[in-house]
């Protein structure tokens, strides 16, 4: 297991948003973190990346926890935020340099990887420009490049499909496939269920901060009791049941 979330209870204030949430992400798998708006997906992610401290429960990345060894913990994951976050005063090339310095990557190798990624996303002749002035889609691509040029063991991607054109979406999914083959794990939060259904290996469904269901699509369908259900059906059914 690369990522183990065990009994996570926490939130922004005294009232916990997440309640005893437990799930795992293994190497070579893409896990979809599914839930409606307000379910707790972003909160979960913020706990995993260390922006929030759990009130109860434990999070470990390759048997290393944030409290025990923050530097080692942060070294092992890469994060693609939902909204692009960029330095106003740095060029594209300098963003890459920052990533290399921050993660202690080997410069030649990382730059080579980065330029391949830039070519894929058609950004290779914009190295000297300010990403802060790019269009939203291009900014998101910069985020993806900065994350995938590292050699992280876990990639955490927050709502990637909103804002990316179909070409870029396909390119991102190809990238995810590639890092999976290299042994990394990917945790992706989304509420675009149709796409998640096609590409995710396993799903973690949360609602109101609690785990509703987890497993492969087949396992979820079995639980739901209908062979021909789509992920969307399964989810909405579960949400309705919860409400009763």
């Amino acid at each position: 297991m690369i990522l183990t979330v065990d009994g996570l209870t926490g939130g922004y204030s005294a009232i916990p948003v997440l309640k005893k949430l437990s799930f795992t992400v293994d190497q070579g798998e893409l896990v979809g973190l599914i839930g409606l708006n307000g379910a707790g997906k972003s909160t979960t992610i913020k706990h995993v990346i260390g922006l929030l401290k759990p009130k109860k429960g434990k999070i470990t990345l390759n048997d290393c926890s944030l409290l025990d060894n923050p530097a080692k913990y942060k070294q092992q994951f890469a994060y693609v935020p939902e909204t692009p976050v960029l330095y106003e005063e740095l060029t594209l090339k300098e963003h890459l340099e920052m990533t290399i310095m921050a993660y202690g990557l080997e410069r030649k190798k990382a730059m080579k990887k980065a330029s391949e990624l830039l070519k894929i996303f058609r950004l290779e002749n914009k190295l000297d420009w300010f990403p802060a002035n790019f269009s939203k889609g291009m900014k998101q691509k910069v985020m993806i490049v900065c994350a995938f040029m590292t050699d992280a063991k876990l990639f955490i991607i927050d709502e990637p499909f909103l804002g990316l054109d179909p070409l870029a979406t396909r390119d991102l999914l190809n990238l995810i496939e590639k890092v999976k083959e290299e042994g990394a794990g990917v945790l992706m939060s989304t509420h675009v269920l149709s796409t998640a259904e096609k590409y995710c290996d396993r799903f973690v469904m949360i609602d109101h901060g609690k785990l509703q269901a987890s497993g492969t699509l087949e396992e979820l369908k079995q639980n739901y009791g209908r062979e021909d259900a789509t992920l969307s059906d399964v989810y909405l059914g579960m949400a309705d049941l919860e409400g009763e």
Binding site: I49, G50, L51, P70, A71, K72, K74, Q75, Y79, P81, V85, L86, Y87, E88, E89, L90, T91, E94, E97, M98, I100, M101, A102, Y103, G104, R107, F130, A132
Partner: protein, 420 residues
């Protein structure tokens, strides 16, 4: 409606809206003012004022009676014009008003009236205080007769009304926004009025200014009836004014609204630090300093201003000014440390918080030492005494040590708790 019904005393909805907004505005200002007044900044301003006051008094005492300085009267006019420009219209309009208040277009007159009075109060206060400070200069350097001093101050206050009215006129009539009109109404006409008052007859000038105000008001009334209120223009102006205020407060605590605009400045690339895994944040901070519109202009402004002032001082005042300017430079750069804290990656990078602070400390120290050397050189130019320049340098070195040490720690811990 004739001018005699102005100001109106009936409180209508738009008038009340402005009052409410003003009360919220003052609450917000006081909230930030707490941080300003708690800072060493206040002390340094007092020192600066004290030093300047001493220099001014020495200057006045040194004048011969009667003085025939060729530059005194033009200088008086220059300073007066400068005072008149401070204190812009305070409309307190918000971005959403372009949507929500559009229906109230016909009643904007009431809103703007109250806004005018409020803006005038603060602007006139500055002019009045400035005028009082100028009285010795007027009497002893410009040979203005005592009887005229009062009239001239009055003229300055009415000129302020005139200039402010011209700025309010822009909200209805684009002509007033053109460079020509701005120069005429905000500079040329007040200059003429002042020159007339100083060289010929102050009472006549005052009467003419009052007449000009009357005509301007009539013109504005007409525009307000015939033309549309320039919503986007007014909102942009107000937003810019608030931004200036927020930028000032941002020196003392985190203000969420301040957003920078960066300039590429390729020519500086050769001087910027190369990527170094030991100092990742230094790479970031120096680039921000070099390219951010806000921080780079701040640095240049203070360096130039300090150097110019020091080049003309030849007493011990030089030491004080150098120390004060260096302090102002240092403390205005401290917000750079937390400039990127909203960026999530600053909290995710494996290299932690301590590294960030240490890198920043290094950058600040380098900048301050550089400034200290520049100021010491100009101190030498001004005083022509190497010993004094060395003393100034010594003071500034100690100051740098203190600012980048304890002071920096204290300021940053305040920022952290404020954010939480």
């Amino acid at each position: 409606m004739s001018i005699l019904e102005w100001p109106t005393w009936k409180v209508n909805k738009m008038d009340g809206l402005y009052r409410k907004r003003q009360s919220d505005y003052f609450k917000q200002i006081f909230k930030y003012l707490r941080y300003v007044l708690n800072d060493f900044f206040v002390l340094s301003v007092l020192f600066a004022l004290g030093g300047l006051g001493l220099a001014y008094s020495d200057y006045v005492k040194s004048l011969s009676h009667p003085s025939n300085l060729w530059y005194s009267k033009p200088l008086l006019v220059l300073i007066a014009i400068f005072l008149l420009q401070i204190g812009k219209p305070k409309t307190l309009l918000k971005k959403a008003d372009a949507v929500f208040l559009l229906a109230k277009e016909s009643e904007m007159g009431q809103y703007l009236k109250r806004s005018f009075f409020s803006s005038y109060l603060s602007g006139a206060a500055i002019v009045f205080v400035g005028g009082l400070v100028l009285v010795p200069f007027m009497l002893f350097a410009c040979n203005v007769p005592k009887s005229d001093v009062c009239l001239i101050i009055f003229l300055m206050l009415t000129s302020k009304t005139f200039v402010l009215l011209a700025e309010f006129a822009e909200f209805y009539d684009e002509k007033f926004s053109s460079l020509l009109f701005e120069l005429i109404f905000r500079v040329l006409l007040p200059v003429l009025a002042l020159l007339l008052a100083i060289f010929l007859n102050a009472a006549l000038s005052l009467c003419l200014m009052l007449g000009a105000i009357f005509f301007l008001i009539q013109n504005i009334r007409q525009s307000a009836h015939q033309k549309m209120f320039r919503w986007n223009f007014a909102i942009e102006k107000e937003t810019a004014r608030m931004m200036e205020l927020y930028r000032f407060f941002n020196l003392f605590c985190d203000v969420p609204y301040v957003v920078a605009k960066a300039k590429r400045r390729r020519f500086l690339d050769a001087f910027l630090p190369k990527p170094n895994p030991e100092n990742p944040y230094r790479y970031l901070y120096v680039r921000c300093l070099a390219r951010s519109g806000e921080y780079s202009s701040l640095l240049i402004r203070l360096l130039v201003l300090g150097s110019v002032v020091l080049a003309f001082l030849d007493t011990y005042l030089s030491l004080l000014i150098a120390a004060v300017f260096l302090y102002m430079l240092g403390f205005q750069l401290i917000p750079l440390a937390t400039n990127y804290d909203e960026i999530v990656f600053m909290h995710i990078y494996p290299q932690g918080f301590e590294k960030k602070i240490n890198d920043f400390r290094g950058v600040l120290r380098t900048v301050m030492l550089f400034a200290a050397f520049i100021f010491a050189i100009f101190c030498l130019i001004g005083t022509r005494q190497p010993l004094m320049a060395l003393e100034a340098l010594a003071i500034m070195l100690v100051e740098t040590f203190f600012v980048t040490g304890n002071y920096l720690e204290k300021k940053l811990s305040i920022n952290l708790t404020y954010r939480n």
